[in-house]
């Protein structure tokens, strides 16, 4: 065992990168669920975002256009979910699952020409003085912009839900769509916007995997991250900062356990391998003892004639 070979600064810096795709997808899904819609298609929207972002970044040479394209791609796929659940009033669970399957297939099709290609590198934030600070530099100032955007999104969603009128209306729609409708709010329109936002966030998260974390395109490369993001929203009791905590815990322990393995720590590998899931769930379950509950209208179909 040789713990000294683990560099804590590099560890924290890489856990932030590992956590960002989950974080982006989860914060989008949180807004969707707060509006009373359960979209199980996160995985499908992520992988679609991953290939859209990758393809556009490769074709244009600009990672930023790639991320923009990923957000649009994810949102475009979620439009299908909108059509099914908000217009055709189909079952949300079934539609979401279908969206995942469709997204996986569509991305494989779109990605056929992009296997084995290297994307343009995403530039890191390069602040002359701050980036050179010994410990804080690599942790706080050494990342790419999307990572900061993820954290900013958490703060923005939290503030918007808590303090803004728009956030209040969104929550009202999610708690009781009938009451919100009676008050004159456009329930369907608000939900459509929330779903599109969720799709865009999931798309960004997917592109973060294909452009920054791995960086390459491989079929099925999200490998279940979307499902983890979904679970995280529930375990985080629909609270933005807990989503951040959960994503960092999960990303952190995933990276940490690999570090411990490589350093030869005498903990059986099986325990290390399951530890990210176990510890994240445990911490968030303990935190959620404060009677937080799901939005009351979550997953229910709304029709104005009711």
């Amino acid at each position: 065992m040789d713990l000294s070979s683990i560099n804590p600064v590099l560890l924290i810096a890489s856990l932030m990168v590992a956590a960002t795709p989950i974080l982006l997808a989860a914060i989008g899904e949180l807004v969707v669920e707060k509006a009373g819609v359960l979209n199980l298609g996160v995985e499908g929207m992520m992988i679609t975002g991953a290939i859209c972002g990758f393809a556009i970044a490769v074709e244009t040479g600009s990672p930023w256009l790639g991320f923009g394209g990923a957000a649009i791609g994810g949102a475009a796929l979620s439009l299908l979910f909108v059509l099914l659940t908000q217009v055709a009033l189909a079952n949300q669970v079934a539609s979401g699952l279908a969206l995942t399957l469709f997204g996986l297939g569509l991305s494989a099709l779109l990605g056929q020409r992009y296997v084995g290609i290297k994307p343009p590198p995403t530039p890191r934030l390069d602040i002359p003085l701050l980036g050179d600070l010994p410990v804080v530099g690599p942790i706080l100032f050494g990342h790419d912009l999307i990572l900061y955007l993820g954290i900013a999104l958490i703060a923005a969603v939290w503030a918007a839900l808590k303090y803004s009128r728009a956030g209040l209306i969104l929550r009202a729609v999610g708690e009781s769509h009938d009451a919100a409708h009676a008050l004159g709010y456009k329930v369907v329109r608000i939900r459509i916007l929330a779903i599109l936002f969720g799709g865009a966030c999931a798309g960004l998260g997917g592109a973060y995997i294909s452009l920054v974390r791995v960086p390459q395109w491989t079929e099925g490369m999200t490998a279940g991250v979307g499902w983890i993001a979904l679970a995280l929203v529930v375990f985080a009791s629909w609270k933005p900062w807990r989503v951040l905590l959960g994503a960092y815990l999960f990303g952190g322990i995933t990276v940490l356990q690999l570090n411990l393995q490589a350093a030869g720590v005498a903990i059986p590998v099986e325990y290390l391998a399951m530890s990210p899931y176990l510890i994240t769930i445990l911490v968030l379950v303990i935190l959620s003892k404060d009677k937080s509950r799901a939005p009351a209208s979550l997953g229910k179909i709304f029709h104005a004639s009711h």
Binding site: S5, I6, N7, L10, L11, S14, A18, P21, A108, G111, Q112, V115, G116, I117, K118, I209, R213, V214, P215, Q216, T218, E219, G220, M221, T222, A223, G224, V225, T254, V255, L258, N259, Q261, A262, A263, G264, A266, P268, V269, E270, A273
Partner: protein, 357 residues
């Protein structure tokens, strides 16, 4: 009611019609553990499937299902293939072993071919490649090329095939570099690019400048490329898109001749349950071109090692070799028997850490 009945009978007629046409064709099913575009393991199996189609043309019909999880799901997929009239089914991952045996019992007339397993039945053959021969060549290059003397190894699952590879690579790295140390990380997945990339990054952060992988995607190659000054080896497929550096060589699985031969055997009615385990000599394991990033001298040594293995002059597990706990395994000049190799569940002397159960 009448309409549905009409449709149903129309569908039945169609079904019968296609059934009649299909009778002349040999129908072959393939069960894949990853997507065909993984660039590694499953990609090569699918290349071999396409080779079968190219060889027999209209005489065969192939179907495949990709990304099938190991476990009950795979049993369902195989059953479906057998019910749809498959004559021969290739199940291409170690974890399909018990499912293959279970389904084979239910369909005695369907032939099954299970990759990398060890359980056979009258209608189940097993086939695998002696990847450890290729690992010996990789280990040699790794031992000669490393400057930090730390070699990172990304394991998938702690099964004999993977452990054999680790041992073989270690023995040959140690031979040319007594100071070499292996850091082994178990990813517990065959295919998860993000996790594989993380594992590669962790190993690089901890000082490894050579990464060997036994997982299926090219993600570790991308991570090594981003880090710079790290060399890697293509796994299962050539992964030449990462040549000349970081990818300096590769192990290429070549299943096509075997798949064609077995398909022919089913057509001729000469199919029998066999246990095939071929290596470099028979062409089932290929060594991808050693790139210019490797000095000519080391390249020549590696090729000489490859040739002596191919010719049968040298076996990668030749004594004296001790087990990790120091107990004797192979005496001077003794060569490991296939039985021990097939069930290998121990590290050789010098490797640190325990094998997960």
């Amino acid at each position: 009611m009448k309409l549905t009945a009409l449709f149903a009978s129309a569908a039945m007629v169609l079904g019968l019609a296609t059934g009649a046409v299909a009778q002349d064709k040999t129908k072959i099913g393939f069960v894949y553990v990853g997507p065909v575009g993984d660039g590694g393991w499953t990609y090569e199996h699918d290349q071999a499937r396409q080779a079968v189609v190219a060889e027999f043309g209209d005489k065969v019909e192939t179907v495949f299902v990709e990304s099938v999880p190991e476990g009950p799901d795979s049993e369902r997929v195989m059953t479906q293939m057998a019910l749809n009239g498959a004559d021969l089914i290739f199940t291409t991952s170690f974890g399909y072993m018990d499912s293959t045996i279970n389904v084979a019992k239910k369909f005695p007339n369907v032939k099954f071919e299970h990759a990398t397993g060890y359980k056979t039945a009258p209608n189940v053959s097993v086939y695998s490649a002696r990847f450890y021969e290729g690992r010996a060549v990789q280990g040699h290059i790794a031992g000669r090329m490393t400057k930090s003397n730390i070699v990172g190894y990304i394991g998938s699952y702690p099964i004999p095939e993977v452990i054999r590879g680790i041992n073989s690579a270690y023995i040959h790295a140690k031979k040319v570099n007594p100071d070499v140390q292996f850091k082994i990380v178990w990813a517990y997945t065959w295919f998860d690019p993000a996790k594989e990339a993380d594992a590669a990054k962790v190993l690089i952060e901890q000082g490894a400048d050579v990464i060997l992988q036994h997982t299926d995607s090219t993600a570790p190659q991308a991570a090594a490329k981003a880090a710079g000054n790290v060399i890697t080896f293509g796994q299962a497929s050539d992964m030449s898109e990462y040549a000349p550096s970081p990818r300096v060589s590769s192990i290429i699985d070549n299943w096509a001749p075997y798949y064609i031969a077995r398909t022919q055997a089913v057509m001729d009615g000469t199919w029998e349950s066999v246990n095939t385990w071929d290596g470099i000599g028979a062409g089932m394991v290929g060594i991808g071109e050693i790139s210019d990033a490797v000095p000519a001298e080391i390249k020549a040594e590696a090729l000489a090692l490859k040739d002596s293995i191919a010719a049968g002059d040298y076996h990668p597990f030749t004594g004296p070799i001790r087990k990790q706990d120091g107990s004797a395994w192979l005496a001077e000049g003794e060569v490991a028997d296939d039985g021990t190799l097939a069930g290998m569940n121990f590290y050789v002397e010098g490797i640190e850490g325990d094998i997960p159960n």
